[in-house]
Protein backbone atom coordinates (compact mmCIF):
# COMPACT_ATOMS: atom_id res chain seq x y z
CA UNK A 1 0.00 0.00 0.00
CA UNK A 2 2.96 2.29 0.52
CA UNK A 3 3.41 2.99 -3.16
CA UNK A 4 -0.16 4.30 -3.36
CA UNK A 5 0.71 7.23 -1.21
CA UNK A 6 1.10 10.31 -3.35
CA UNK A 7 3.98 12.69 -3.10
CA UNK A 8 2.02 15.64 -1.79
CA UNK A 9 1.30 15.01 1.86
CA UNK A 10 -1.82 16.33 3.54
CA UNK A 11 0.34 18.47 5.76
CA UNK A 12 1.86 20.14 2.72
CA UNK A 13 -1.53 20.84 1.30
CA UNK A 14 -2.93 22.37 4.44
CA UNK A 15 0.13 24.53 4.80
CA UNK A 16 -0.30 25.81 1.27
CA UNK A 17 -3.95 26.50 1.94
CA UNK A 18 -3.25 28.46 5.07
CA UNK A 19 -0.72 30.41 3.07
CA UNK A 20 -3.49 31.27 0.69
CA UNK A 21 -5.68 32.38 3.54
CA UNK A 22 -3.15 34.89 4.76
CA UNK A 23 -3.06 36.18 1.22
CA UNK A 24 -6.80 36.73 1.12
CA UNK A 25 -6.87 38.31 4.54
CA UNK A 26 -4.16 40.65 3.36
CA UNK A 27 -6.49 41.64 0.57
CA UNK A 28 -9.38 42.54 2.79
CA UNK A 29 -7.48 44.08 5.63
CA UNK A 30 -4.92 46.75 5.40
CA UNK A 31 -1.34 45.73 4.72
CA UNK A 32 -0.23 47.68 7.78
CA UNK A 33 -2.41 45.60 10.06
CA UNK A 34 -1.20 43.65 13.04
CA UNK A 35 1.18 41.00 11.69
CA UNK A 36 3.18 43.45 9.62
CA UNK A 37 3.21 46.28 12.11
CA UNK A 38 6.31 45.11 13.83
CA UNK A 39 7.98 44.70 10.47
CA UNK A 40 7.90 48.39 9.57
CA UNK A 41 11.51 49.35 9.90
CA UNK A 42 12.54 52.10 12.27
CA UNK A 43 14.51 53.65 9.44
CA UNK A 44 11.37 53.83 7.31
CA UNK A 45 9.58 55.73 10.05
CA UNK A 46 12.48 58.12 10.39
CA UNK A 47 12.72 58.61 6.64
CA UNK A 48 9.02 59.33 6.55
CA UNK A 49 9.27 61.85 9.37
CA UNK A 50 12.20 63.54 7.67
CA UNK A 51 10.30 63.67 4.36
CA UNK A 52 7.25 65.14 6.04
CA UNK A 53 9.52 67.56 7.85
CA UNK A 54 11.10 68.66 4.57
CA UNK A 55 7.66 69.08 3.02
CA UNK A 56 6.43 71.29 5.81
CA UNK A 57 9.68 73.22 6.12
CA UNK A 58 9.61 73.99 2.43
CA UNK A 59 6.01 74.97 3.05
CA UNK A 60 7.23 77.35 5.70
CA UNK A 61 9.71 79.12 3.45
CA UNK A 62 7.47 79.21 0.38
CA UNK A 63 5.86 82.59 1.03
CA UNK A 64 9.35 84.09 1.23
CA UNK A 65 10.58 82.42 -1.93
CA UNK A 66 7.75 82.35 -4.45
CA UNK A 67 4.61 84.22 -5.31
CA UNK A 68 2.50 81.10 -5.84
CA UNK A 69 1.15 81.10 -2.31
CA UNK A 70 -2.24 79.97 -3.50
CA UNK A 71 -0.97 76.71 -4.97
CA UNK A 72 0.81 75.85 -1.73
CA UNK A 73 -2.15 76.85 0.40
CA UNK A 74 -4.46 74.53 -1.48
CA UNK A 75 -1.92 71.74 -1.57
CA UNK A 76 -1.74 71.73 2.22
CA UNK A 77 -5.50 72.01 2.39
CA UNK A 78 -5.86 68.88 0.24
CA UNK A 79 -3.27 67.05 2.32
CA UNK A 80 -5.26 67.81 5.45
CA UNK A 81 -8.59 66.90 3.84
CA UNK A 82 -7.29 63.67 2.31
CA UNK A 83 -5.73 62.62 5.61
CA UNK A 84 -8.88 63.57 7.52
CA UNK A 85 -11.09 61.69 5.10
CA UNK A 86 -8.80 58.70 5.38
CA UNK A 87 -9.42 58.73 9.11
CA UNK A 88 -13.05 57.93 8.36
CA UNK A 89 -12.73 55.91 5.16
CA UNK A 90 -9.45 54.09 5.69
CA UNK A 91 -9.42 53.69 9.43
CA UNK A 92 -13.02 52.95 10.33
CA UNK A 93 -14.45 52.02 6.93
CA UNK A 94 -16.95 54.80 6.31
CA UNK A 95 -16.66 56.65 3.00
CA UNK A 96 -18.31 60.02 3.64
CA UNK A 97 -19.16 61.46 0.25
CA UNK A 98 -20.64 64.41 2.10
CA UNK A 99 -17.38 65.20 3.90
CA UNK A 100 -17.77 68.77 2.65
CA UNK A 101 -20.56 69.24 5.19
CA UNK A 102 -17.91 69.66 7.89
CA UNK A 103 -15.77 71.86 5.67
CA UNK A 104 -18.73 74.14 5.01
CA UNK A 105 -19.80 74.17 8.66
CA UNK A 106 -16.31 75.26 9.65
CA UNK A 107 -16.26 78.00 7.03
CA UNK A 108 -19.63 79.31 8.12
CA UNK A 109 -18.78 79.11 11.84
CA UNK A 110 -15.74 81.28 11.27
CA UNK A 111 -17.60 83.59 8.94
CA UNK A 112 -20.43 84.19 11.37
CA UNK A 113 -18.21 84.53 14.43
CA UNK A 114 -15.55 86.73 12.88
CA UNK A 115 -17.51 88.80 10.39
CA UNK A 116 -21.02 89.08 11.89
CA UNK A 117 -20.14 88.95 15.61
CA UNK A 118 -16.69 90.53 15.24
CA UNK A 119 -15.06 87.88 17.40
CA UNK A 120 -11.26 87.62 17.50
CA UNK A 121 -9.68 85.46 14.85
CA UNK A 122 -8.67 82.63 17.20
CA UNK A 123 -12.23 82.40 18.49
CA UNK A 124 -13.41 82.04 14.92
CA UNK A 125 -11.00 79.19 14.23
CA UNK A 126 -11.55 77.35 17.50
CA UNK A 127 -15.29 77.90 17.07
CA UNK A 128 -15.06 76.27 13.65
CA UNK A 129 -13.45 73.19 15.17
CA UNK A 130 -16.15 73.01 17.83
CA UNK A 131 -18.94 73.42 15.28
CA UNK A 132 -17.35 70.69 13.16
CA UNK A 133 -17.34 68.35 16.15
CA UNK A 134 -20.94 69.29 16.94
CA UNK A 135 -22.13 68.61 13.39
CA UNK A 136 -20.30 65.28 13.39
CA UNK A 137 -22.14 64.32 16.58
CA UNK A 138 -25.38 65.35 14.92
CA UNK A 139 -24.59 63.06 11.97
CA UNK A 140 -23.30 60.24 14.18
CA UNK A 141 -26.54 58.20 13.93
CA UNK A 142 -25.78 57.68 10.23
CA UNK A 143 -22.78 55.57 11.29
CA UNK A 144 -25.15 52.70 11.75
CA UNK A 145 -25.52 52.54 7.97
CA UNK A 146 -22.91 50.67 5.97
CA UNK A 147 -21.24 50.80 2.58
CA UNK A 148 -22.73 52.94 -0.13
CA UNK A 149 -25.90 53.52 1.93
CA UNK A 150 -23.78 55.53 4.30
CA UNK A 151 -22.04 57.34 1.45
CA UNK A 152 -25.29 58.33 -0.19
CA UNK A 153 -26.92 59.53 3.03
CA UNK A 154 -23.77 61.44 3.85
CA UNK A 155 -23.90 63.13 0.45
CA UNK A 156 -27.59 63.97 0.94
CA UNK A 157 -26.83 65.52 4.33
CA UNK A 158 -24.19 67.74 2.79
CA UNK A 159 -26.75 69.00 0.29
CA UNK A 160 -29.33 69.51 3.03
CA UNK A 161 -26.75 71.59 4.90
CA UNK A 162 -26.07 73.61 1.78
CA UNK A 163 -29.76 74.41 1.34
CA UNK A 164 -30.30 75.12 5.04
CA UNK A 165 -27.38 77.51 5.21
CA UNK A 166 -28.69 79.49 2.27
CA UNK A 167 -32.07 79.67 4.03
CA UNK A 168 -30.59 81.15 7.21
CA UNK A 169 -31.50 84.83 7.64
CA UNK A 170 -29.12 86.93 5.59
CA UNK A 171 -28.24 89.28 8.46
CA UNK A 172 -27.05 86.15 10.31
CA UNK A 173 -25.39 84.08 7.61
CA UNK A 174 -25.45 86.10 4.44
CA UNK A 175 -28.17 84.06 2.70
CA UNK A 176 -27.41 82.75 -0.73
CA UNK A 177 -24.95 85.58 -1.38
CA UNK A 178 -22.74 84.37 1.46
CA UNK A 179 -20.40 86.28 3.72
CA UNK A 180 -17.52 88.49 2.67
CA UNK A 181 -14.82 89.13 5.23
CA UNK A 182 -14.31 92.84 5.61
CA UNK A 183 -11.31 92.55 7.91
CA UNK A 184 -7.82 93.13 6.60
CA UNK A 185 -6.37 90.38 4.43
CA UNK A 186 -3.62 88.35 6.02
CA UNK A 187 -3.06 85.50 3.57
CA UNK A 188 0.32 84.56 5.00
CA UNK A 189 -1.10 84.07 8.47
CA UNK A 190 -3.91 81.86 7.16
CA UNK A 191 -1.40 80.02 5.05
CA UNK A 192 0.77 79.21 8.05
CA UNK A 193 -2.27 78.11 9.99
CA UNK A 194 -3.12 75.74 7.18
CA UNK A 195 0.42 74.35 7.17
CA UNK A 196 0.10 73.71 10.88
CA UNK A 197 -3.30 72.03 10.50
CA UNK A 198 -2.01 69.78 7.73
CA UNK A 199 1.12 68.96 9.69
CA UNK A 200 -0.84 68.09 12.82
CA UNK A 201 -3.17 65.91 10.77
CA UNK A 202 -0.29 64.00 9.19
CA UNK A 203 1.59 63.59 12.45
CA UNK A 204 -1.51 62.52 14.32
CA UNK A 205 -2.21 59.94 11.64
CA UNK A 206 1.36 58.63 11.73
CA UNK A 207 1.37 58.30 15.50
CA UNK A 208 -2.08 56.74 15.43
CA UNK A 209 -1.21 54.08 12.88
CA UNK A 210 2.04 53.14 14.60
CA UNK A 211 0.37 52.92 18.00
CA UNK A 212 -1.95 50.46 19.67
CA UNK A 213 -4.88 52.75 19.02
CA UNK A 214 -4.40 52.49 15.27
CA UNK A 215 -4.44 48.73 15.56
CA UNK A 216 -7.69 48.92 17.45
CA UNK A 217 -9.27 51.11 14.79
CA UNK A 218 -8.22 48.66 12.10
CA UNK A 219 -9.54 45.74 14.06
CA UNK A 220 -12.82 47.57 14.37
CA UNK A 221 -12.93 48.33 10.68
CA UNK A 222 -12.05 44.82 9.55
CA UNK A 223 -14.27 42.93 11.92
CA UNK A 224 -16.40 44.94 14.34
CA UNK A 225 -17.89 41.82 15.90
CA UNK A 226 -14.54 40.30 16.78
CA UNK A 227 -13.34 43.68 18.02
CA UNK A 228 -16.36 43.81 20.31
CA UNK A 229 -15.70 40.29 21.56
CA UNK A 230 -12.11 41.08 22.52
CA UNK A 231 -13.41 43.98 24.55
CA UNK A 232 -12.87 47.04 22.38
CA UNK A 233 -15.40 49.80 22.77
CA UNK A 234 -16.26 49.83 19.11
CA UNK A 235 -18.70 52.72 19.02
CA UNK A 236 -16.51 54.98 21.14
CA UNK A 237 -13.47 54.45 18.92
CA UNK A 238 -15.54 54.83 15.82
CA UNK A 239 -17.03 58.06 17.11
CA UNK A 240 -13.62 59.41 18.10
CA UNK A 241 -12.24 58.85 14.60
CA UNK A 242 -15.39 60.31 13.09
CA UNK A 243 -15.14 63.49 15.19
CA UNK A 244 -11.43 63.77 14.40
CA UNK A 245 -12.14 63.60 10.67
CA UNK A 246 -14.84 66.25 11.05
CA UNK A 247 -12.65 68.65 13.04
CA UNK A 248 -9.89 68.49 10.43
CA UNK A 249 -12.37 69.33 7.67
CA UNK A 250 -13.93 72.13 9.71
CA UNK A 251 -10.54 73.72 10.30
CA UNK A 252 -9.76 73.50 6.58
CA UNK A 253 -13.08 75.15 5.78
CA UNK A 254 -12.48 77.88 8.30
CA UNK A 255 -9.02 78.72 6.97
CA UNK A 256 -10.06 78.44 3.35
CA UNK A 257 -12.90 80.88 4.00
CA UNK A 258 -10.51 83.32 5.62
CA UNK A 259 -7.92 82.86 2.91
CA UNK A 260 -10.31 83.42 0.02
CA UNK A 261 -12.16 86.04 2.15
CA UNK A 262 -15.52 84.92 0.81
CA UNK A 263 -17.93 82.22 1.89
CA UNK A 264 -21.06 81.21 0.07
CA UNK A 265 -23.29 78.14 0.17
CA UNK A 266 -22.35 77.00 -3.28
CA UNK A 267 -18.57 77.20 -2.87
CA UNK A 268 -18.32 76.14 0.77
CA UNK A 269 -20.59 73.12 0.36
CA UNK A 270 -19.45 72.21 -3.13
CA UNK A 271 -19.68 68.45 -3.40
CA UNK A 272 -16.54 68.53 -5.53
CA UNK A 273 -14.58 69.23 -2.35
CA UNK A 274 -15.73 65.92 -0.86
CA UNK A 275 -15.07 64.22 -4.13
CA UNK A 276 -11.55 65.54 -4.46
CA UNK A 277 -10.70 64.56 -0.88
CA UNK A 278 -12.03 61.07 -1.57
CA UNK A 279 -10.23 60.82 -4.89
CA UNK A 280 -6.88 62.06 -3.62
CA UNK A 281 -6.96 59.71 -0.65
CA UNK A 282 -8.13 56.80 -2.82
CA UNK A 283 -5.41 57.36 -5.40
CA UNK A 284 -2.76 57.28 -2.69
CA UNK A 285 -4.41 54.36 -0.91
CA UNK A 286 -7.03 54.24 1.81
CA UNK A 287 -5.90 52.93 5.16
CA UNK A 288 -2.27 53.93 4.70
CA UNK A 289 -0.53 56.93 6.24
CA UNK A 290 1.55 57.78 3.22
CA UNK A 291 -1.07 57.24 0.53
CA UNK A 292 -3.35 60.23 1.12
CA UNK A 293 -0.39 62.59 1.58
CA UNK A 294 1.28 61.41 -1.62
CA UNK A 295 -2.07 61.41 -3.45
CA UNK A 296 -2.84 64.97 -2.37
CA UNK A 297 0.61 66.29 -3.27
CA UNK A 298 0.74 64.49 -6.60
CA UNK A 299 -2.76 65.39 -7.65
CA UNK A 300 -2.34 69.02 -6.59
CA UNK A 301 0.65 69.27 -8.88
CA UNK A 302 -1.18 67.60 -11.77
CA UNK A 303 -4.19 69.77 -11.08
CA UNK A 304 -2.06 72.91 -11.17
CA UNK A 305 -0.37 71.95 -14.43
CA UNK A 306 -3.55 70.90 -16.22
CA UNK A 307 -5.81 73.51 -14.72
CA UNK A 308 -3.67 76.46 -15.69
CA UNK A 309 -3.65 75.39 -19.33
CA UNK A 310 -6.92 73.62 -19.99
CA UNK A 311 -9.64 74.52 -17.50
CA UNK A 312 -12.27 72.22 -18.98
CA UNK A 313 -9.88 69.38 -19.64
CA UNK A 314 -8.97 69.51 -15.95
CA UNK A 315 -12.23 67.94 -14.84
CA UNK A 316 -12.04 65.42 -17.61
CA UNK A 317 -8.50 64.45 -16.67
CA UNK A 318 -9.44 64.22 -13.00
CA UNK A 319 -12.32 61.94 -13.92
CA UNK A 320 -10.15 59.81 -16.16
CA UNK A 321 -7.48 59.43 -13.47
CA UNK A 322 -10.07 58.34 -10.93
CA UNK A 323 -11.59 55.83 -13.32
CA UNK A 324 -8.26 54.36 -14.37
CA UNK A 325 -6.85 54.18 -10.85
CA UNK A 326 -9.95 52.44 -9.49
CA UNK A 327 -9.76 49.92 -12.30
CA UNK A 328 -6.06 49.18 -12.23
CA UNK A 329 -5.00 50.06 -8.68
CA UNK A 330 -8.09 49.55 -6.53
CA UNK A 331 -6.01 49.94 -3.37
CA UNK A 332 -4.31 53.10 -4.55
CA UNK A 333 -0.65 53.58 -5.37
CA UNK A 334 0.71 52.70 -1.93
CA UNK A 335 -1.75 49.82 -1.54
CA UNK A 336 -0.76 48.43 -4.94
CA UNK A 337 2.93 48.52 -4.06
CA UNK A 338 2.28 46.85 -0.73
CA UNK A 339 0.36 44.11 -2.44
CA UNK A 340 2.94 43.66 -5.15
CA UNK A 341 5.85 42.95 -2.88
CA UNK A 342 6.03 42.17 0.83
CA UNK A 343 9.42 43.90 0.78
CA UNK A 344 7.63 47.24 0.71
CA UNK A 345 5.90 46.45 3.96
CA UNK A 346 8.98 47.45 5.84
CA UNK A 347 9.07 50.78 4.10
CA UNK A 348 5.54 51.83 3.31
CA UNK A 349 2.72 52.17 5.78
Amino acid sequence: MVERRPKTSMAGQSKAQSGDMTETSAQTSDPGASPSRRRISKIAIRVWIVLVGVLFLSGAVVPLATDSLSFWFYMFQWIALAVGLNLAAGMIGYLPFGYVAFFGSGAYATGILVQIYAAPLWVGIVGAALVGALVSLLFAPTLRLRGIFFSIVSMSLAIVMQHLVSLLPSEFAGGSAGITFAREQRPQLYYYCMVVVAMLAVLAMTVLVLSRQGLMLKAIRDDPDVARVIGLNVSAWRLAAWIGAAVIAALCGSLEGLYSSIIDPHASFNILISAKAVIYAAIGGFGTVMGPVLGAVGMSVIDEIVWSRFPIANLFVLGAIVAVVTLYMPRGVVGAMLKKSPRFRRWLF
Binding site: P6, T8, M10
Partner: protein, 263 residues
Protein backbone atom coordinates in the same frame (compact mmCIF):
# COMPACT_ATOMS: atom_id res chain seq x y z
CA UNK B 1 -6.65 -5.57 -3.25
CA UNK B 2 -9.03 -8.41 -3.94
CA UNK B 3 -11.42 -7.59 -6.74
CA UNK B 4 -10.35 -4.02 -7.41
CA UNK B 5 -8.18 -3.82 -10.44
CA UNK B 6 -5.40 -1.27 -10.23
CA UNK B 7 -5.58 1.27 -13.00
CA UNK B 8 -2.54 0.06 -14.86
CA UNK B 9 -3.96 -3.44 -15.22
CA UNK B 10 -6.25 -4.61 -17.96
CA UNK B 11 -9.88 -3.59 -17.53
CA UNK B 12 -12.17 -6.49 -17.26
CA UNK B 13 -15.35 -4.70 -18.13
CA UNK B 14 -14.16 -3.29 -21.43
CA UNK B 15 -13.30 -6.74 -22.61
CA UNK B 16 -16.92 -7.82 -22.22
CA UNK B 17 -18.83 -5.05 -23.98
CA UNK B 18 -18.10 -1.54 -25.13
CA UNK B 19 -21.06 0.83 -25.10
CA UNK B 20 -20.64 4.21 -26.77
CA UNK B 21 -18.18 6.50 -25.03
CA UNK B 22 -19.87 9.84 -24.27
CA UNK B 23 -17.38 11.65 -22.08
CA UNK B 24 -13.71 11.20 -21.47
CA UNK B 25 -10.94 12.76 -19.39
CA UNK B 26 -7.52 12.12 -20.83
CA UNK B 27 -4.51 12.76 -18.63
CA UNK B 28 -6.23 15.71 -16.99
CA UNK B 29 -4.42 17.75 -14.37
CA UNK B 30 -6.15 20.71 -12.78
CA UNK B 31 -5.46 23.18 -9.98
CA UNK B 32 -7.42 25.87 -8.18
CA UNK B 33 -4.56 28.12 -7.28
CA UNK B 34 -1.19 27.85 -8.88
CA UNK B 35 0.71 24.90 -7.59
CA UNK B 36 -1.72 22.70 -5.69
CA UNK B 37 -2.80 20.09 -8.20
CA UNK B 38 -6.24 18.86 -7.33
CA UNK B 39 -6.28 16.43 -10.25
CA UNK B 40 -3.15 14.72 -11.45
CA UNK B 41 -3.06 12.98 -14.82
CA UNK B 42 -6.54 11.56 -14.58
CA UNK B 43 -8.02 9.19 -17.21
CA UNK B 44 -11.74 8.54 -16.90
CA UNK B 45 -14.34 7.27 -19.37
CA UNK B 46 -18.10 7.70 -19.18
CA UNK B 47 -20.27 5.38 -21.28
CA UNK B 48 -23.81 5.72 -22.55
CA UNK B 49 -26.36 3.91 -20.44
CA UNK B 50 -23.93 3.37 -17.60
CA UNK B 51 -23.57 4.91 -14.17
CA UNK B 52 -19.95 5.72 -13.38
CA UNK B 53 -19.53 6.10 -9.65
CA UNK B 54 -16.63 8.17 -8.34
CA UNK B 55 -15.72 7.52 -4.73
CA UNK B 56 -12.86 8.56 -2.54
CA UNK B 57 -12.03 10.34 0.69
CA UNK B 58 -12.56 14.05 1.31
CA UNK B 59 -10.28 16.22 -0.78
CA UNK B 60 -9.72 13.47 -3.35
CA UNK B 61 -10.87 15.77 -6.17
CA UNK B 62 -14.17 14.03 -6.88
CA UNK B 63 -16.17 17.23 -7.29
CA UNK B 64 -13.28 18.76 -9.19
CA UNK B 65 -13.64 16.07 -11.85
CA UNK B 66 -17.19 17.27 -12.51
CA UNK B 67 -16.21 20.93 -12.41
CA UNK B 68 -13.40 20.32 -14.85
CA UNK B 69 -15.66 18.41 -17.20
CA UNK B 70 -18.24 21.18 -17.05
CA UNK B 71 -15.66 23.85 -17.81
CA UNK B 72 -15.77 25.58 -14.44
CA UNK B 73 -12.10 24.75 -14.10
CA UNK B 74 -9.63 24.75 -16.99
CA UNK B 75 -7.40 21.67 -17.12
CA UNK B 76 -3.70 22.53 -16.99
CA UNK B 77 -2.80 19.40 -18.90
CA UNK B 78 -4.70 16.76 -20.81
CA UNK B 79 -7.99 16.96 -22.63
CA UNK B 80 -11.69 16.71 -21.93
CA UNK B 81 -13.73 15.02 -24.65
CA UNK B 82 -17.45 14.99 -25.29
CA UNK B 83 -18.55 12.63 -28.06
CA UNK B 84 -14.95 12.58 -29.22
CA UNK B 85 -14.69 16.38 -29.50
CA UNK B 86 -12.49 18.41 -27.17
CA UNK B 87 -14.49 20.60 -24.79
CA UNK B 88 -11.57 21.65 -22.61
CA UNK B 89 -11.89 25.24 -23.80
CA UNK B 90 -15.67 25.33 -24.02
CA UNK B 91 -17.22 27.80 -21.56
CA UNK B 92 -19.56 26.32 -18.97
CA UNK B 93 -22.61 28.13 -20.25
CA UNK B 94 -22.29 26.35 -23.59
CA UNK B 95 -22.26 22.88 -22.02
CA UNK B 96 -26.00 22.66 -21.38
CA UNK B 97 -26.75 23.14 -25.06
CA UNK B 98 -24.26 20.37 -25.89
CA UNK B 99 -26.19 17.81 -23.88
CA UNK B 100 -24.30 17.94 -20.57
CA UNK B 101 -26.35 18.47 -17.42
CA UNK B 102 -24.61 19.23 -14.15
CA UNK B 103 -25.97 19.17 -10.63
CA UNK B 104 -23.49 20.95 -8.40
CA UNK B 105 -23.21 20.06 -4.77
CA UNK B 106 -25.74 21.79 -2.57
CA UNK B 107 -27.89 24.48 -4.04
CA UNK B 108 -28.33 25.06 -7.71
CA UNK B 109 -31.84 26.45 -7.55
CA UNK B 110 -33.09 30.01 -7.72
CA UNK B 111 -34.82 30.01 -4.38
CA UNK B 112 -36.83 33.19 -4.86
CA UNK B 113 -38.22 32.09 -8.22
CA UNK B 114 -41.16 29.74 -8.52
CA UNK B 115 -40.76 26.05 -9.23
CA UNK B 116 -42.12 26.66 -12.71
CA UNK B 117 -39.66 29.49 -13.36
CA UNK B 118 -36.77 27.32 -12.22
CA UNK B 119 -37.81 24.76 -14.79
CA UNK B 120 -38.31 27.49 -17.38
CA UNK B 121 -34.71 28.68 -16.90
CA UNK B 122 -33.61 25.08 -17.41
CA UNK B 123 -34.91 25.49 -20.96
CA UNK B 124 -32.63 28.47 -21.64
CA UNK B 125 -30.77 26.87 -24.57
CA UNK B 126 -34.07 26.29 -26.42
CA UNK B 127 -35.71 29.54 -25.26
CA UNK B 128 -36.61 30.72 -28.74
CA UNK B 129 -38.82 27.66 -29.32
CA UNK B 130 -41.68 28.60 -27.08
CA UNK B 131 -43.73 25.52 -27.75
CA UNK B 132 -40.82 23.18 -27.04
CA UNK B 133 -40.16 25.03 -23.79
CA UNK B 134 -43.76 24.74 -22.71
CA UNK B 135 -43.97 21.03 -23.47
CA UNK B 136 -40.63 20.31 -21.78
CA UNK B 137 -41.76 22.08 -18.59
CA UNK B 138 -45.09 20.30 -18.75
CA UNK B 139 -43.41 16.93 -19.19
CA UNK B 140 -41.18 17.54 -16.17
CA UNK B 141 -44.18 18.51 -14.07
CA UNK B 142 -46.00 15.36 -15.22
CA UNK B 143 -43.08 13.17 -14.20
CA UNK B 144 -42.90 14.80 -10.77
CA UNK B 145 -46.49 15.20 -9.55
CA UNK B 146 -45.37 16.77 -6.26
CA UNK B 147 -43.61 19.53 -8.19
CA UNK B 148 -46.73 20.03 -10.26
CA UNK B 149 -48.72 20.76 -7.11
CA UNK B 150 -46.08 23.23 -5.94
CA UNK B 151 -45.36 24.83 -9.30
CA UNK B 152 -46.43 28.33 -8.27
CA UNK B 153 -44.55 28.24 -4.97
CA UNK B 154 -41.05 29.59 -4.60
CA UNK B 155 -38.33 26.96 -4.81
CA UNK B 156 -37.16 28.12 -1.40
CA UNK B 157 -40.39 26.87 0.16
CA UNK B 158 -39.72 23.26 -0.87
CA UNK B 159 -38.25 20.62 1.42
CA UNK B 160 -34.72 19.36 0.85
CA UNK B 161 -35.88 16.25 -0.98
CA UNK B 162 -38.29 18.22 -3.15
CA UNK B 163 -35.55 20.65 -4.05
CA UNK B 164 -33.37 17.77 -5.18
CA UNK B 165 -36.19 16.44 -7.39
CA UNK B 166 -36.62 19.91 -8.86
CA UNK B 167 -32.90 20.04 -9.62
CA UNK B 168 -33.07 16.62 -11.24
CA UNK B 169 -36.19 17.53 -13.17
CA UNK B 170 -34.49 20.66 -14.44
CA UNK B 171 -31.35 18.75 -15.37
CA UNK B 172 -33.40 16.25 -17.38
CA UNK B 173 -35.52 18.84 -19.22
CA UNK B 174 -33.34 18.94 -22.30
CA UNK B 175 -32.72 15.17 -22.40
CA UNK B 176 -28.96 15.34 -21.74
CA UNK B 177 -26.53 12.74 -23.01
CA UNK B 178 -24.30 13.10 -19.99
CA UNK B 179 -25.49 13.80 -16.45
CA UNK B 180 -22.96 14.94 -13.84
CA UNK B 181 -24.25 14.48 -10.29
CA UNK B 182 -22.35 15.84 -7.31
CA UNK B 183 -23.55 14.31 -4.05
CA UNK B 184 -27.20 14.11 -5.11
CA UNK B 185 -28.35 12.57 -1.84
CA UNK B 186 -26.41 14.77 0.58
CA UNK B 187 -28.54 16.47 3.22
CA UNK B 188 -31.83 14.84 2.27
CA UNK B 189 -34.05 12.38 4.10
CA UNK B 190 -33.21 8.66 3.57
CA UNK B 191 -36.53 7.82 1.92
CA UNK B 192 -35.89 10.53 -0.69
CA UNK B 193 -32.34 9.26 -1.14
CA UNK B 194 -33.61 5.82 -2.11
CA UNK B 195 -35.90 7.43 -4.65
CA UNK B 196 -33.05 9.48 -6.06
CA UNK B 197 -30.90 6.36 -6.54
CA UNK B 198 -33.76 4.55 -8.22
CA UNK B 199 -34.19 7.50 -10.50
CA UNK B 200 -30.48 7.59 -11.34
CA UNK B 201 -30.72 3.95 -12.36
CA UNK B 202 -33.66 4.52 -14.61
CA UNK B 203 -32.07 7.60 -16.17
CA UNK B 204 -29.05 5.48 -17.10
CA UNK B 205 -31.31 2.76 -18.44
CA UNK B 206 -32.69 5.32 -20.88
CA UNK B 207 -29.22 5.56 -22.36
CA UNK B 208 -27.80 8.55 -20.51
CA UNK B 209 -24.21 8.45 -19.32
CA UNK B 210 -24.40 9.26 -15.61
CA UNK B 211 -21.44 10.30 -13.50
CA UNK B 212 -22.16 9.99 -9.79
CA UNK B 213 -19.89 11.52 -7.18
CA UNK B 214 -20.93 10.26 -3.80
CA UNK B 215 -19.78 10.11 -0.17
CA UNK B 216 -22.23 7.29 0.54
CA UNK B 217 -20.16 4.44 -0.77
CA UNK B 218 -22.56 1.58 -0.30
CA UNK B 219 -25.54 2.96 -2.28
CA UNK B 220 -23.19 4.47 -4.84
CA UNK B 221 -21.60 1.13 -5.52
CA UNK B 222 -25.02 -0.49 -5.70
CA UNK B 223 -26.35 1.91 -8.32
CA UNK B 224 -23.16 2.14 -10.38
CA UNK B 225 -21.94 -0.01 -13.23
CA UNK B 226 -18.37 1.10 -12.96
CA UNK B 227 -16.44 2.55 -10.05
CA UNK B 228 -13.48 4.90 -10.03
CA UNK B 229 -11.58 5.36 -6.78
CA UNK B 230 -9.86 8.71 -6.40
CA UNK B 231 -7.30 9.64 -3.77
CA UNK B 232 -5.60 13.04 -3.67
CA UNK B 233 -6.32 13.72 -7.30
CA UNK B 234 -5.17 10.39 -8.67
CA UNK B 235 -7.12 7.39 -9.81
CA UNK B 236 -5.95 4.65 -7.47
CA UNK B 237 -8.33 1.93 -8.51
CA UNK B 238 -11.22 1.13 -10.80
CA UNK B 239 -13.38 -1.76 -11.69
CA UNK B 240 -16.86 -2.99 -12.32
CA UNK B 241 -19.29 -2.41 -9.54
CA UNK B 242 -19.79 -6.15 -9.05
CA UNK B 243 -16.19 -6.42 -7.93
CA UNK B 244 -16.96 -4.12 -5.04
CA UNK B 245 -20.19 -5.73 -3.98
CA UNK B 246 -18.52 -7.84 -1.34
CA UNK B 247 -17.79 -6.32 2.03
CA UNK B 248 -14.19 -7.41 1.90
CA UNK B 249 -13.50 -5.55 -1.28
CA UNK B 250 -15.07 -2.35 0.03
CA UNK B 251 -13.25 -2.63 3.33
CA UNK B 252 -10.04 -2.91 1.42
CA UNK B 253 -10.66 0.31 -0.49
CA UNK B 254 -11.67 2.26 2.58
CA UNK B 255 -8.71 0.94 4.56
CA UNK B 256 -6.51 2.49 1.90
CA UNK B 257 -8.07 5.94 2.52
CA UNK B 258 -7.59 5.72 6.24
CA UNK B 259 -3.97 4.98 5.69
CA UNK B 260 -3.55 8.00 3.43
CA UNK B 261 -5.36 10.27 5.83
CA UNK B 262 -3.54 9.00 8.87
CA UNK B 263 -0.10 9.09 7.34
Amino acid sequence: MSGVTPARHALRQDAVSSPAVIGELRGVSAAYFGDIHVLQGLDLTFNAGRVAGIIGPNGAGKSTVLKTFFGLLRPLEGDVLLNGQSVARTPSHAMAAMGVAYLPQGRSLFLDLTVEDNLLLGCWPIRSHRRAVRSAVQRALDIFPSLHDARRQSAGSLSGGQRRFLELARALLLEPKLLLLDEPTAMIAPRFAAEVYAMIRSIANEGVAVVLVDQNIRPCVEVSDHIYVLELGRKTAEGTAQDLQTDDALRDVIAGWLEVRGG
